[in-house]
Amino acid sequence: MTTPGGAVSAGAPLVGRGKRRWSRLAMREARDGYLFVAPWLLGFALFTAGPMLASAVLALMRYNLFSPPVWVGLANIKKLVSDDIVWLSLWNTAYYTFLSVPLRLIASLVLALLCVQKIRFTAWFRTFFYLPSVTPAVAMAIVWFWILNPDVGLANTVLRAIGLPPSKWIWDPKTSKSTFVLMQMWTAGGNTMVIFLAGLQNIPQSLYEAAQIDGASGWAQFKNVTVPMLSPVILFNLVMGIIGSFQVFTGAFLMTAGGPANSTLFSVLYMYRLAFEQFEMGYASAFAWLLFLVILVFTLLQLRMSESWVYYEGG
């Protein structure tokens, strides 16, 4: 794969033609290939690789957008380590992530399994489960704000009606994070479900038939056919779920502004404040990198651990 000519002649169907003509064709194909992927390559340089590099450099500077940046070396990193709010926000985020991701995965897998049952109206059920996922976060925040209202909200009305004590939901540091976990089941559960649905539909029916002939019960089929065959999709949802949850922002920004008592001050919310309210671009960049590294470690850990439980059909 080093020369354009070599890339094509490997497995090329038109070997009969002259060598010179061949490589010219291949050259043109390679040139067009680069041109076709050029938008992404440019975008990668301009909006991903470049900014990442710039962010790493900024992390070593003090810069407030208005006066020129000043080199401060490791000062931002030292400040990060001693900033209690940084660690509090990381703790809040980790708490939210490790509660919400497993719960959402289990719930949406159950939903997906229900949707592939041979019953009528599955298209409708699927729609109902999925609809909250396309609803704008702001609209959702407006409704939830009202549903959760401790005095007149629907949630406490229901709790009182069934004889349970009312809750202060997002307005109590003890329940605020769990309430966000609950809300994200609505808004993100459908997305995860659809991906599971796709995975379930790709499992060959013959495997289930074979298991049935062996007398496998429903649970045994689930454990020995569905889960192994679905494990790559579970991994995908797990990894994407963790990456997404670590960047939770909009709900907390809109509804609690990080309160009460900083109990919903998630990391991206804190980063937003540092960067776009206090204009501490350097310090915020250092924090963004810290968060990036935390996410990276968890992602790599997941991928490493997955080797023992993910089943790939081909490999």
């Binding site: 609809l131 704008p136 609209a139």
Partner: protein
């Protein structure tokens, strides 16, 4: 899988359809299944139903005890009144401009890049594609601050450009991946035939592949449309003036019930939500097929 033994076809048939009616437990299971599905559907639809219901209430009914689900009279006028509280229509227009432009960019560039990765051979293709997939796992927060500074130097702050232009550069790794997977399912005979007729790669892409790709591009268009329509953080960072705001950003003030009142807030939220619901109902088929097509399942 090695543990699964195989029986002759005939035995399988007898096991599957015994020829009698299903036992009573079968019907009980079905009833429970339907009951479960219906109650879950209700649980999932409550926030939206509440939004719709409250948006049509008289102010006095909003706090009624027990809660009123079907407002009487139905106050369609709330949807007019809310327009006097905030420049909803202006914001809606801005959202449309941003969303349509960004979606256009996504479709064009994702289908181009997808074609390059699926159909053309060039050195480094495998490595670049792996890089593309890796960026799917990249949290965007690391790039946010330098990008913000870059757009400031371009004087793009308080314009729609930061929300639109990046879409023209590939349209996101996920969409490229989706399109590429779809191209791979189209037989190369089409390309070969066109090439024999003297078409170059650009003509093959524009005249043959784009039309054949309509289903996946519809899925990408819907994903992108929903994504940009709902986007909050981008507009929050880049748009400052009141008349430049997108609807999602403008409605931020509505989370706080002091600005308007609950019934009007919900009417405002409905302006943002309803287009998504409509798009989802009509595009649902493509939406779900799009996810199936990614083939994340196989590998």
């Amino acid at each position: 899988m090695a543990t699964l033994s195989r029986l002759p076809r005939s035995a399988q048939a007898t096991a599957a359809h015994g020829g009698q009616h299903p036992p009573a437990s079968y019907y009980i299971k079905r009833a429970l299944l339907y009951l479960g599905m219906i109650s879950l559907s209700i649980v999932f639809m409550v926030p939206m139903a509440w939004m719709l219901s409250t948006s049509l209430k008289l102010q006095g009914q909003v706090f009624a005890h027990p809660p009123i689900w079907i407002p009487r009279p139905i106050m369609w006028y709330n949807y007019v009144e809310v327009l006097t509280v905030a420049p909803i229509l202006r914001w809606l227009g801005n959202t449309c401009v941003v969303t349509v432009a960004a979606t256009l960019g996504t479709i064009i560039s994702a289908s181009m890049v997808g074609f390059g990765f699926a159909r053309l051979r060039f050195p480094g293709r495998g490595a670049l594609f792996a890089l593309l997939l890796a960026t799917m796992m990249l949290p965007h927060i690391v790039t946010q601050i330098p990008t913000f500074i870059m757009f400031k130097y371009l004087n793009w702050h308080d314009t729609f450009l930061p929300l639109i232009v990046p879409s023209f550069f590939g349209g996101g790794a996920y969409n490229i991946f989706l399109v590429r997977q779809f191209y791979l399912t189209i037989p190369t005979d089409f390309d070969d035939a066109a090439r024999i007729d003297g078409a170059n790669n650009w003509m093959i892409w524009a005249r043959i592949m784009l039309p054949l790709n309509a289903p996946v591009l519809t899925a990408v268009a819907i994903f992108s449309f929903v994504g940009h329509w709902n986007e909050f953080m981008g507009p929050l960072i880049y748009l400052f003036s009141e008349d430049k705001k997108t609807l999602a950003l403008g409605l931020r003030a509505f989370v706080d019930p002091f600005l308007a009142s609950y019934h009007l807030n919900m009417a405002g939220a409905m302006y943002l939500t309803l287009p998504m619901v409509i798009i989802f109902f009509f595009g649902q088929r493509y939406f779900l097929r799009g996810v199936v097509m990614t083939g994340i399942t196989g590998r």
